[in-house]
């Protein structure tokens, strides 16, 4: 159910767009209104979520320390894995965001006879995660060609590098292959490992199906079922300059509308889903705080009034016992 329900959802979405465009000819709805709406939901939603998190304070300094603390001068501090300064925190966060540092630590525990537990290296998830995120970013970057009249040089260079293998006509983009391969791996891993399958929710499969479908429709458009590329650019330029074209939308081809609609769904779904890890990782208090709470006092912004048991009350109860063994007291 958890695997099939989200798959059915994506198929229904595709059929809806197909019927809407091919049957009902709702080009303006799928070409202009849906992408604008999705974009607004994305921006407003992400902002709302980040502000929502930001509204909850961080009352205590709780970094997870993964290296030697700052201590005596002759003991070398691990300034990145256990930062005591803002600079160290920045490096730690950069490594976390751009290199997936923590995931790179991954180990696989195995119980052998003896009993003997061994912890082997397990970098495949890290590799697939890196491959997916970086190719996704690269592909988005390549898409900038649709939003400038002339193709900017960096975008052009990125295309050149991406197609350096010179395979096929049009030239195969390596990132397309790696992107789909990484998503396929992330999906297969979820269903092949009994433990991962057990913890997976429908919300873990849905974005994978969606991304795979977006990638596939993109590949189909580029290499197989051609769309009217001038019409596409006309539309994207119109969208980005807030002057969407009224004409020519019917010439583009349905594959493009499916591609665009699925991307719109992804964007609109993003803020309300686990995909918000992209924003959340920056706010994670176990990573983005220095371990300096013995050096500097950290203030809790909310009041925490509690009742104490004082020394006076303690002495009142135990005075005789204290005096009998010569422990000094305040009130003789």
């Amino acid at each position: 159910m958890k695997t099939l329900f989200p798959l059915a959802a994506v198929i229904v979405l595709i059929l809806l767009v197909y019927a809407g465009v091919q049957g009902a000819q709702m080009y303006y709805l799928f070409g202009v209104i849906v992408p604008y709406a999705a974009f607004l939901i994305f921006v407003a939603g992400v902002a709302a979520r980040v502000v929502g998190w930001g509204r909850s304070p961080v009352p205590f300094r709780i970094p997870t320390t993964c290296g030697q603390q700052k201590t005596l001068p002759w003991i070398k501090q691990d300034k990145v894995e256990n930062p005591s300064s803002t600079g160290g925190v920045i490096v730690r966060m950069l490594a976390e965001v751009f290199l997936f540092r923590s995931l790179f630590r991954n180990l696989k525990a195995e119980l052998h006879s003896g009993p003997k537990i061994v912890y082997g290296s397990a970098k495949w998830l890290w590799l697939a995660g890196m491959a997916f995120h970086y190719t996704f970013f690269y592909i988005l970057f390549r898409h900038l060609r649709f939003f400038f009249l002339g193709v900017p040089y960096p975008v052009h260079a990125a295309e050149k590098v991406d197609s350096f293998l010179q395979i096929g006509v049009p030239l195969l983009y390596l990132t397309d292959a790696v992107f789909l391969g990484a998503i396929a791996f992330l999906f297969l891993r979820r269903i092949a490992s009994p433990q991962i399958k057990y913890i997976s929710l429908a919300a873990d499969y849905f974005p994978l199906y969606l991304l795979f479908a977006i990638g596939t429709t993109g590949v189909l458009m580029r290499y197989f079922t051609k769309v009217h590329i001038v019409g596409v650019k006309n539309l994207t330029m119109g969208l980005v300059s807030l002057a969407p074209p009224a004409r020519g939308l019917d010439e583009i081809g349905v594959m493009f509308y499916i591609h665009l609609a699925l991307l719109s769904v992804l964007a609109a779904y993003f803020p309300w889903s686990k995909l918000m890890h992209a924003g959340g990782v920056f706010l994670s208090p176990t990573r983005n705080l220095p371990n300096d709470s013995r050096i500097k006092r950290h203030i809790n912004p909310w009041k925490q009034d509690v009742e104490f048991h004082t020394y006076e009350e303690y002495e009142h109860e135990f005075k005789d016992k204290m005096k009998s063994v010569g422990i000094p007291v305040e009130k003789e």
Binding site: W53, R61, I199, E307, F308, F318
Partner: protein, 542 residues
Amino acid sequence: MAKEMKPNEIIASIDYQPPAKDWMDTPVEIKPGMFCWGAKGKSLNTVGFPNARDWNPLNEDWKLPKDWKGTVLEGIADRLKKYRSFKLFMDICVRCGACADKCHFYIGSGDPKNMPVLRAELMRSVYRKYFTTPGKLLGKMGGARDLDLNVLKEWWYYFFQCTECRRCSVFCPYGIDTAEITIMGRELLNLLGLNIEWVMGPVANCYMKGNHLGLEPHTIKSNIEFMLDDIETITGIKIDPPFNKKGAEILFVTPSGDLFADPGTYTCMGYLMLFHELGLDYTWSTFASEGGNFGFFTSNDMAKRLNYKIYAEAKRLGVKWILGGECGHMWRVLNQYMDTWNGPADFLEVPRSPITGTVFDNARSTKMIHVVEFTADLIRNGKLKLDPSRNDHLNITYHDSCNTARGMGFFEEPRYVINSVANNFVEMPEGTIREKTFCCGSGSGLNAGENIDLRMKGGLPRANAVKYVKDRYGVNMLANICAIDRAALSALMNYWNPGVGVTGVHELVANALIMNGEKERTTDLRGEPLPTKTEAGGDPNV
């Protein structure tokens, strides 16, 4: 209670294959040997906790207040507003599974609800249902479920099967810390009086008497006097430590476990001998007689209430700074919470070792340093006369306590001290030490007797790493800097690795310490014969 499981029974019972049925459809089964007895009404009453009554987790009726569900949901809403960690960690998990096999309870039990991700999902599923729109709309397909009595019992069972060790948080790509979720889970349960007696008893004791064990002032003194007699027998030196002494330079605070049972008492003898040898102007306190903080395992407020007495007593006695003993969660609390709760300690001075003159600038706000930092500095400056060969009968390995490792980063200091006072030291395998260290299986207040199966399962990864160095290098002593470890690891070693002892670092220090005017020692602090120079034990190549 059912019969305790044997080691081979535990190994045979581990099955990592999860059940075919979805976890939401698998109701909790409260198994004997895997849980601690419920908190007594008396203990809850002492600190004014709600729903104080005696109850039995095995009974159907947990004697909950009528609107318990409303209380829990309100409690969640309140904490989402107070803690960014909680809110964020409810939202951003992608269930990548990197944490799954990092938990000692999962490795040792195979129970999928001990995977950190699933432990958190126990709470997240309820959060989604009542606090997120997709969860409200999609229900179970959106990973959401109702909060009912079975869910509440599941929370209680599994949030007391987590030792808040934070090993999973090292591996999480977003730094999601299950300890934060367990802490919140326990706070919520606490609103209904659903704590465990092994935590609440010590909390009540600590609140009224100053320490978890409930040692009254005269008992603290007499317990230490017993140790002084032993020290005199072994070294010929008579020590007279000060108690509640006003105007002393340093207040010394250590977990009360060190005062009560071996091998903690040997560590305590180590402190006493070291401070005497240095002629340190320090004092014990019978009021601030607990460094540990079991309040931390009930609620943040309770932890603050118990922590209060350390600064209060330092102020009353007029000391200059505070020295803390060897303990695990005590140091997480002192490092990450104390100053925020009960500071500023502006009536104290930045700690300065009176022996070496070293100023501990890294504690310039809290004004409290770790005794191992203090001793490492002494050794580095050549202030101690040491004979490491007195520890030659020991092949030592070192267990990083979860809290000093991942809540502080205290790695090199203890290793430096051990290597200075002993000749035979070897590390356990990479992946089981330092920031990746494994919990003893009994932390966060789970060191009870009735949950022994749980403890031995959770301790398996740690014990297995010790077994590796025992088999390979003949390791016979497991050093650590944690009072709970000293108690818990002793039981764990007896169970999985008979013949391996457990020691605090300052016991090793005191064994090697050549004291002014001491007689020739023939035994170590445990009364066991010292190795003679000719038959020094241990493989020098280790």
